[in-house]
Every structure is written in C-alpha cells, then in structure tokens.
Amino acid sequence: MLTYEPGDSVGHRLDARSKLLLQASFAAAAFGHTDPVGLAVLTGLTLALLALASTTPGVVLAEYRGVLPFLAAAPVIESLRFGAPWVDPVAAVDPALAAYRTVLLLALVAAYVRTTPVRESEAAVARLVPGKLGRLLGLGVGLVFRFLPVLQADLARTREAMAARLGDRRPLRDRVRIVATAGLTRALSRTDRLAVALRARCLSWNPTPPEATFGREDALALGLAAALAGWAMWPAAATAPW
C-alpha cells in the first residue's frame, strides 16, 4: 500500500499545501487538454515530478495494477456496437485518453503520499480551511489516520472469527450484516472513550498553529501551479468571443 517514505527529495521538502495545489492545477490542465499533445506534455511533466519525488514509474504502476482493468473498461464498452462491425475503435479514442489522464493524476497522488508525512497533510487541512471549520476538519482527518489501523484490526478479527466457525458459508447478506455490525459496535465503543480523552486533554478551538514549512522551492512550485492553471484556462480564453 502507498505510505510515506522518509527521504530528502525536493518532493519531501515542499510544503504539503504546495503539493496539493500543484495536483489541483495539474488536474485542471489535464482536463483542459485531454488530447494527444496535451497529455504528452503532461506526461513529461509527470515524469519530472516523479523524479523530484524519488518515485519511479515502476512503483506507480505496481501500486495501481488493481485499478488499471477498471480504467480499461470504459473505452472497451464504448467501442462496442450493436451490429456490424461490432467494434468501433475510433469511439474508444476519447475514453482511452480520459483513462490515461486518470493514470497521470494517480501517479501524482503516489508521489504526494510517498513524500508527505501524515502530520503535514493534517496541518495543510487546518491551514487551508480557516477558523473553527478548519480546526474540526484537521482534527477529524488526524483521527481518521489514527483510527484506520485500529478499526481495520477489529474487522480483520471479526472476519477471521467468522471464517473459523465456517461463517463464510452463510448467505452474502448475513456476512455483510455481521461484518458491519461488528465494525459499528467497535467504532461506537471506541468513540465514547475517545471523546472523554479529547476533553481531558483540553481540546480547544485555538491551539498552537502547525509549523510553517514554506521555503524557496515552494515559491517555484506555486509558480508552476499558476502556470498550469493558466494553461488550463487557455483554450477557453482563446475561443472566447472578444
């Protein structure tokens, strides 16, 4: 699974907010230029960014090998015709480009996750969203990272216990219900303890703000993000009636 890998690449040194912004503007540019030329340019950029984040394309492909068949489904279905010649390859071009665009976006996700520790993602949320909402959202996101493995272990035990007593021979709806009940029961029982602990530790609206890590490289990243955003707007601007 994708996780943070400690390191000292440019990607590691960038502030999480720069990386999120870069991804968003990259996505905008990719949507604006889902054509062979645009995607070729963006492929080059993706490879450069991956290198800066010490992430090889091989790592990315290995990571998403489960997702790729799903991506291939749309072009395949779109190219099928009810009648001769049954298959129309031309119809598959646009969906295939779109699917490829998704691969590029996922590659950047891999670079982000491998270079960004949880605490920085959490801080980015708290800083990007202002006020009390940002406080709650940042806290909530941190709690998700914390409790994901805990609840995963709960469910794994449940499924094991079920299998040990041949519960996996039960009808599907029974199995879904059993797993869901166990997951929910455990989550609720943990919730009460967590809420008390939060209060005991003075959960406040105005905590010490997270450390800022904005550096010179972040300025470059933001410049690149702005350029991508501008390029994303370009076709619209070029065809606008003025």
Binding site: A74, T102, L106, L137, V144, F147, Q152, L184, A195, W205
Partner: protein, 193 residues
C-alpha cells in the same frame, strides 16, 4: 509553568463527542472500502463504503453525518488510504470514479434528513421500515446520479456506457447494504447514544 488559562477556548462537550463520532464513522467507511465481497452469479466484487454513508446518515443525522463524510473525503484527498481498495489522493476525486466520492456528504445528509427529519435526532429504531428504506433509496439514487454522470463526463463516454460500466453491476449490492443497515438498526447489538 502555567499558561493564562482564560485564553484557552475549550471545545464544548457536545461538539467534542460529535467530532469523535464523525471521525470514527469516516474511518469506519475507510475500512469498509477495503472489505470486498462478491455478488453471487455475476462475481462482481463490491466494497462496503456506501454502507458507511448509510450508517453515518442513520446514526449521526444529516449535519454530523455529512460532516463525517466530508472528513472521509478530505482525509482520502490528503493521502489516507480510505478510498476503494485502499486508494487515496486528490487525483481520485478527479478520476473516473470521483463522482461517487463527491456524492457521499450529500447522500449522508439525504439519508439523515429522511430518517431524522430536520429537527432533533430521533432514535433510528423507532423509525418505520418504509421511511428507513426510502431514505436509503434516495441516498443511493443520489450516489449513482453523481457517480454515473461523473464517470460519463470524466471518462468522455456516453451516459449509457457509464450506466453499464459504473452502475448496473453494483446496484444489487446496494440493496444488500441497505438490508444490513436495517438489520443493524433493528438489532439490540448497537445502541446509539
């Protein structure tokens, strides 16, 4: 060393409890995203995320249920492996299946309003079966509307292809999840407080 305690603005008991709950339901939805079952006959694999959406709406109500799903989506966007099969990232929100993710906060709110109405939360066990099922059906319609339109727009395919690829194989699983939710609400194993 002691700080000026009057400067510390404590979060109230009720909000602290609600945030804890919303975050745990978000994490639970993330765990459900890994749990994969296979539908009989067609062998289509499906995950239980939508069950998390149903449960959030039913047990947390419209406001905190939606908040819980916002936490889920944002946590995934910044890298928590909580989307289907442990994927994550901002890119997922703009990917072909991203429409589903955008729909979750709205769907949880719809389920929440359907079950609890607009006022104070009610004990879901006292809500009639028709109302429970209706609320989840409305939530499901919303999820698939977002999902298939997103799939068609992002994937540059026709709506028919989107429905065939991204909705039809999975809809039967939603009925199973809704049935599971009803069973949970009606069982004594889970006591909502």
């Amino acid at each position: 060393m002691s700080t000026a305690t009057e400067d510390v603005d404590l979060v109230g008991e009720e909000i602290a409890a609600n945030v804890a709950r919303a975050a745990l339901f978000a994490a639970l939805t993330g765990v459900f995203a890994y749990v994969s079952f296979q539908l009989p006959v067609t062998s289509v694999p499906f995950t239980l995320q939508v069950l998390g959406v149903f449960l959030a709406g039913v047990f947390l109500g419209p406001v905190w249920g939606a908040a819980s799903m916002v936490i889920y989506v944002v946590a995934g966007a910044v890298g928590a492996p909580v989307f289907a099969y442990g994927s994550a990232g901002l890119g997922s929100l703009f990917g072909q299946w991203g429409g589903y993710l955008w729909s979750y906060p709205f769907a949880a709110a719809v389920v929440g309003v359907g079950v609890h109405g607009a006022g104070d939360l009610v004990d879901p066990d006292t809500v009639g079966l028709g109302r429970l099922v209706g609320a989840m059906a409305a939530g499901t319609v919303l999820i698939y509307a977002f999902g298939t339109v997103g799939y068609a727009v992002v994937g540059e395919v026709s709506l028919v292809t989107a429905v065939l690829a991204a909705a039809v194989p999975f809809v039967p699983a939603e009925a199973i999840k809704a049935a599971a939710t009803v069973a949970i609400v009606r069982s004594d194993a889970v006591v909502a407080r």
